[in-house]
Symmetry: C2
Subunit: 516 residues, 2 copies
């Protein structure tokens, strides 16, 4: 952390402190205050790390990265389980690719801006390598290299971007991506529909609140831009301006289009009519919106626009990520923060946006990316492009993690980081072998069991460990009980105890665990 | 691939071809011949990639890496499930760390040889970074940085070593590690015992055949070396020679010790008496072996040796990986190849060793690594070292993957890469919406369902897909059936069909699937 960053952080912490004080004065909701304090402590931790930085050798993770501790991992595993279950329910296979690729494979795939953010490996003799920037280009390389023309696969892995990190808002340099893609010569919109079904299943299951899905098509955008006098070469740059419409007002977008992108006022006024149609008609359904657009002669006469219309209903303000998309594009958006969730400390890329607001899944059709790797085949003059059409969706899994973490904090849900069912304790000294023997038996029966790693642990320490770790049952080994062939079974929550015959231990334990 | 490597590969393929021809002449076991041919085809694939290399831009993964396709991933997931289940049964949490660390964190941790194999990232402005070389140093850094003094965690992730790859024998530059470690001030040998119990549970469950566990202690080795006149500064280098005893005969080790390590003939003769004791007494149990060693006065009078003896029974020829180990060390070894497994194409680092022979898990006690990161604390003159004692075990998970892949090939087990339970097919045209609706209903009920992405797929193509993919059931949508409120349920294996009322579909499907 450099001095400028340190200063920003110090100021942020001061502002948070002020806010907490005024909330307390206003006697605001204690849960909210608690959450704000937790957020401030997180920042103070960053500050501690940052300050230590100034001096001698410091233990830290590289800039823009962090460790995932047991609690974060538990939340991550629970979210990923929901996503993977959905992928498997839809018959997907999984693959994995190396964390680095030949630099040539990535070159020219992410535009000028993206290219600057790729991590290169040092030339230590041999090939020039770079860390993967996303999972889509490695997927296309995998298909082309192995001559695979149809597959339905998911891939969950970390990707790397040398971006300016804003760790307090969840923008990291190392982060997970979570992609599902269908490759193959299939009929239009059937794979797209499945991708959207998966988005619906995952977001519903995670209970992150209301969300809606935006849908558009590259041809509709091309048709609209052409009707407004923007050339085909301006497609990407006009898109990137339009895509800002969900964050900034039209007047700013219009100014950018005129001053930076070279459109005339006449051009932008026409374009504004099209792309702001949803804004002016918030309750109109997509079909009617489409009819309204078709009333413009410039659009209804454009063959690409008509083709796009034939293929779908849509939201004309969605224009994101069009670098390699060739058909339908879609995005799932969470419009409102979860009740009570207003931590800034997690998961957000947009300054000031509360957790849980923004895009949580996005994707579309990209029919030419794999073909780019294969190139034309056949003899000269008869060259034929081998396309492998693809449709996919990528979950904003880091944002989903952050939403779930915030949700658990708000709902004061306790996160278990282990699955231990039973703890073997002892009430007296010199029972190490008996504890180990019992552990061994229960492990062999498939129970999840722990014991203390001390020869003579104190009973209270052992019971305290179980309460802290939310372990439901304790078996207390005692000499008297062993002689009588029984063992004490204690319910950690209710503190009820009963003597259980050793011969029936596994059965009784199993029935207790099943009733939890 | 350079020309020399290409040539080696071409010669290997020729030799394999010759062997296959002679096996055929000898009318050898067809399964063996089939396996040999599969291995040769794998190599030919490498050759293809290698030759293409010579020319223009080639699609490949970086040297020493490979993609994991759906079949490999399915095997990997099944092996990892056994391992993770064991870790969870023993109450472990999991953590994750970034794929790269500050270069300073890794420096000096892997000896001179290891240091050369670390991948560095290019200096693109900012910190100097390197890819992780193992999971143990990042774990120690995590503990020191977060001031964690006790934790039981596992970590499964890829590590990176710029070693000379021997991909045909499974030595890669990117590979998984799978570590379980217990950190904390606990009583000796209790955590060690749990690590060995986990090794036993995992290897038994995987049914990879007979294995045995070697056990030794750093103090025993130090005591033996001291008794033979080797100085403390020679510890590492003498260890590395002794550790070769499982691969080369004593005379070669002795020659190395004299010529390269500077021991005298008198030294090595004494050392040989100690470390070859197991070799001369193969059936003697560890306790007796220990007594025999204690008969040597040089050893019984050495305080370190005695301390080691007090702590365990052991195998005096095990000396591996001692860089940071401070106490007990252990290793699980598979002595014999699985019946029928003799593919060279998988998982082996030792030339000529058949799959499944060698070390499959190893670990020990390392009490000082975390302290190295923390350094002494307290005011000058009263400095106190803060140690976090650790005990761990690391599975040779890549070798376990290779053994399981070979085992499945030998046993001709079919690997399913998806979990699809039901396929929704149609016998006639124009039933796309009906298929989609039914899919949606079954997905919502939690079934794993697929359908064709074509508007009008052929029935035979759909049934063929199910047979290829081992999908157990097909539902065939037909107009007549829909009118009657039923649907045809087909068992893919037996080809039996029955009409099922749509209202009872979910229940009937569930009971069929439960009976599989």
């Amino acid at each position: 952390m450099d001095e400028a960053e340190l200063k920003v952080l110090q100021e942020e912490i001061k502002a948070m402190g002020d806010e907490i004080r005024s909330l307390k004065t206003e006697k605001a909701d204690p849960t909210l205050i608690k959450a704000k304090i937790a957020a401030m402590l997180e920042k103070k931790k960053l500050l501690g790390d940052g300050q230590a930085d100034q001096g001698k050798f410091v233990l830290k993770t590289p800039k823009g990265t962090r460790d995932y501790g047991p609690k974060s991992m538990a939340v991550r595993e629970s979210v990923l389980k929901v996503v993977v279950d959905a992928f498997k329910r839809h018959g997907a296979e999984t693959i994995d690719t190396p964390v680095f690729e030949l630099r040539d494979v990535l070159m020219g795939k992410y535009g000028e801006e993206g290219g600057k953010l790729v991590y290169d490996l040092q030339d230590q003799g041999g090939e020039l390598l770079s860390l993967r920037y996303d999972l889509t280009v490695p997927f296309a390389r995998y298909l082309a290299m192995n001559k695979i023309s149809n597959i339905k696969r998911y891939h969950i892995a970390k990707v790397y971007r040398r971006d300016q990190p804003v760790m307090t808002r969840g923008r990291y340099r190392e982060f997970y991506q979570c992609d599902f893609d269908i490759a193959g010569q299939y009929d239009l919109m059937i794979p797209e529909a499945e991708c959207l079904k998966i988005v619906d299943e995952v977001l519903s299951k995670l209970e992150i609140g209301e969300f809606f899905v935006k849908l558009n098509h590259r041809y509709l955008l091309e048709g609209m831009f052409a009707a407004c006098g923007a050339g085909a070469d301006q497609f990407k740059t006009v898109c990137s301006s339009i895509d800002k419409l969900d964050k900034v007002p039209w007047c700013e977008v219009e100014e950018e289009l005129i001053k930076e992108k070279g459109l005339t006022k006449e051009n932008t006024e026409k374009l504004g009519q099209f792309v702001r149609l949803r804004e002016f008609n918030p309750s109109m359904d997509s079909l009617d919106l489409l009819d309204k657009l078709m009333e413009f002669e410039d659009l209804s006469k454009n063959p690409k626009f008509k083709k796009g219309v034939d293929e779908l209903k849509f939201d004309p303000s969605l224009a994101r990520g069009l670098d390699y998309y060739t058909g339908a594009i879609y995005e799932a958006v969470v419009p409102k923060a979860l009740e009570g969730v207003s931590l800034e400390a997690n998961g957000e890329e947009q300054k000031g946006l509360p957790v849980g607001v923004g895009s949580v899944a996005a994707g579309g059709r990209y029919d030419e990316l794999v073909g780019n790797f294969i190139g034309p085949t056949g003899s000269k003059g008869k060259e034929k492009r081998q396309d492998v059409p693809c449709v996919g969706v990528s979950f904003g899994i880091e944002r989903l993690f952050a939403i779930m973490e915030a949700k658990m904090q708000i709902e004061q849900m306790q996160v278990r980081t282990t699955e231990t069912q039973v703890f073997i304790a002892s009430a007296q000294k010199n029972l190490l072998q008996e504890r180990m023997k019992l552990c061994g038996q229960l492990w062999n029966e498939g129970f999840k069991v722990e014991m203390a790693y001390k020869a003579n642990p104190k009973l209270l320490t052992q019971l305290q460990y179980c309460e802290d770790r939310l372990i439901p049952y304790v078996l207390i080994v005692g000499e008297r009980e062993l002689q009588e062939g029984v063992i004490k079974l204690r319910n950690v929550k209710t503190r009820e105890e009963q003597d259980v015959p050793l011969a029936k231990l596994a059965d009784i334990l199993r029935s207790h665990l099943n009733s939890l």
